[in-house]
């Protein structure tokens, strides 16, 4: 079916899907922060599963279209500033979820999360 659509139109759809993916991820991140601050404020109205499903289908559509159009992901394109910002938010959310626990226990868990994160990153992304 996709072959019947003009390549230019497919590129427009691909670019738009990237925009909707960005919007979906911003919504998801804001929802996570909102839930972290006040549990239930978002999930009472809209479940995370719904947001994740939408983002997942969007991502799948981007992947399929990229294959169809022969677009390859640029591995050097990683935006380090955004990555560090996201990492900082993730650590804040983890720390926030442990706030009721002992402060030293929370810091210890946070340290463990960081170490696990670093090792997973090394295993997946670093070349031999």
């Amino acid at each position: 079916m996709l072959t019947k659509i003009k390549r230019e139109n497919l590129i427009i759809i691909y670019k738009l899907l990237n925009d909707t993916l960005f919007i979906g991820l911003v919504f998801f991140l804001l929802a996570l922060i909102g839930e972290g601050l006040l549990p239930g404020i978002i999930t009472f109205h809209i479940g995370f599963s719904k947001i994740i499903t939408v983002v997942f289908f969007n991502l799948a559509a981007v992947y399929l279209l990229a294959n169809q159009l022969g677009i390859k992901a640029d591995n050097d394109q990683t935006n380090k500033k955004t990555a560090y910002l996201l990492l900082f938010i993730v650590l804040l959310l983890v720390f926030n979820s442990l706030l009721k626990a002992n402060i030293f226990f929370s810091l210890f868990i946070l340290l463990v999360v960081v170490l696990i994160g670093i090792f997973i990153y090394k295993v997946i992304f670093e070349e031999n």
């Binding site: 590129i11 925009d19 109205h45 677009i71």
Partner: protein, 449 residues
């Protein structure tokens, strides 16, 4: 002047299009971002101005989705299969947290039902238990030692038993200083019993302290309190008569222990419980706790031994009525009420209320029983057999309580399938300010230790 680059906000700059198609893309992109903005505004509105839905299905009366409470006919009984005889009212309660602007009630009739000829709906706001019918006034609790006009009494077996003279009182070991001073008017709600004149036996509900443990005499059997704080939830420390261990030989000792006063709030681990009729009701959340009008200061930390004496009951949620032992006080004229057996009983004074529960009483508005909202049921033009009406809730603002009591009056023999209610907040600046204040208060509460 801000200069906008041609490819600004383009997340896929490297994938190029000719000028005409790029213009198309930018047009669609603007539409997508506008849609996202509308979606964000819509989500903000439903979060800041939420609508609360409550329902009850007579087709599935045991469904967990049913959250309208205490559905009853004029006899106070649950109307089986939703059948209501003409002229007899149907009453139900809806529990909602927060201030809402309008309440809408929809009644969906069964296929076999008569149509409504004329039907109206009345609404009041308070706590479910405060809507209970008023029973006989009650006086002081068993075991309370009171004095009035120079006479000394012990409330025993529900009766007011007078000490014949001071010498009997002192010989039995009661200390005059610890009797609660009250008026003859307050004492009239406890019927008079025979005088206490025998120094060889103690009247029922006498309280003793033996080796720092508390006991109460019931039917000539001593019952030990499970702990000091269980005792203190019912009686004052200094009221107990000090005895030595030899005293335990005088009366048989019961295997059963005495627990906390009905209506007590206890915490075990991270959970809070209500104690009532020998059972504990686990409170489902801090939101329920606060919206029931309870005070955190009344929460007593208890041990495993204290907890073990109780059978755990089902969850106490925002939809549950206050249990037996709850004390209500009206904010207008400080009138006290005790909840017992689905009735509210007036209490003569604060000292009588204190004899039943040492907790802070739950504040209610006496006038809330008299303030009513009313609406006439209309046929829903978009649905067969469905009738609805809307009641503005502004007049209930500021009244204590979280429950709306709805009374449906009709002249037809009806059979209801479903009752749906929805509570809406108007999108106003005032409600927005309130929503923001409440959200910040909740966040603050969430981070408070």
């Amino acid at each position: 002047m801000i200069r906008i680059k041609k490819d600004m906000f383009d997340l896929t700059k490297k994938i190029e299009l000719d000028e005409k198609n790029y213009k198309h893309y930018r047009l669609f992109q603007t539409a997508v971002y506008l849609l996202a903005l509308f979606l964000a505004v819509y989500l903000f509105i439903i979060i800041a101005f939420p609508t609360q839905f409550l329902t009850f299905s007579f087709l599935n009366p045991n469904s967990t989705k049913n959250n309208l409470a205490n559905i009853r006919n004029s006899e106070g009984l649950f109307p089986e299969r939703g059948r209501i005889e003409g002229t007899k009212p149907l009453t139900f309660d809806a529990s909602v947290i927060g201030n809402y602007s309008t309440g809408r009630v929809s009644i969906i009739l069964s296929k076999k039902s008569e149509e409504f000829v004329s039907a109206s709906l009345n609404a009041r706001k308070s706590y479910q238990a405060f809507f209970y019918p008023e029973g006989e006034p009650v006086g002081f609790r068993d075991g309370t030692a009171v004095k009035s006009e120079g006479n000394y009494y012990l409330v025993s077996d529900g009766k007011l038993k007078k000490f014949r003279n001071d010498s009997i009182l002192e010989t039995l070991g009661f200390d005059k200083n610890y009797f609660i001073e009250t008026t003859a008017e307050d004492l009239k709600y406890n019927p008079k019993g025979e005088e206490i004149s025998d120094i060889s036996t103690y009247p029922n509900y006498s309280i003793f302290k033996i080796d720092n443990e508390y006991y109460i005499l019931k039917d000539d059997i001593l019952r030990k309190f499970v702990s000091s704080q269980a005792y203190l939830s019912s009686y004052a420390d200094n009221q107990a008569i000090e005895k030595t261990a030899d005293f335990l030989k005088k009366y048989p000792l019961s295997d059963d222990t005495e627990g906390f006063a009905d209506g007590s709030l206890v915490s075990y681990g991270d959970s809070a419980f209500l104690v009532s009729n020998g059972k504990t009701l686990p409170i489902d959340s801090s939101i329920t706790f606060e919206n029931m009008g309870y005070s955190w200061d009344d929460l007593r930390k208890i041990s495993g031994d204290e907890m073990a004496m109780y059978k755990k009951e089902k969850l106490f949620t925002i939809f549950s009525p206050h249990p037996d032992g709850t004390i209500f006080v009206t904010n207008e004229d400080q009138k006290y009420y005790l909840i017992k057996n689905n009735q509210k009983h007036s209490l003569p004074s604060s000292s009588a209320a204190l004899s039943w529960s040492k907790n802070n009483p739950v504040i209610v508005s006496e006038m809330s029983l008299g303030i009513e909202g009313k609406c006439q049921l209309k046929k829903n033009p978009f649905s067969f057999r469905s009738y609805y009406c809307e009641i503005p809730l502004e007049k209930f603002k500021g009244l204590y309580g979280k429950d709306f009591e709805f009374v449906l009056n009709s002249e037809s023999n009806i059979k209801i399938d479903t009752i749906d209610t929805s509570f809406k907040k108007s999108v106003t600046l005032e409600n927005l300010k309130l929503a923001i204040t409440e959200t910040f208060a909740k966040i603050k509460g969430n981070y408070a230790y």
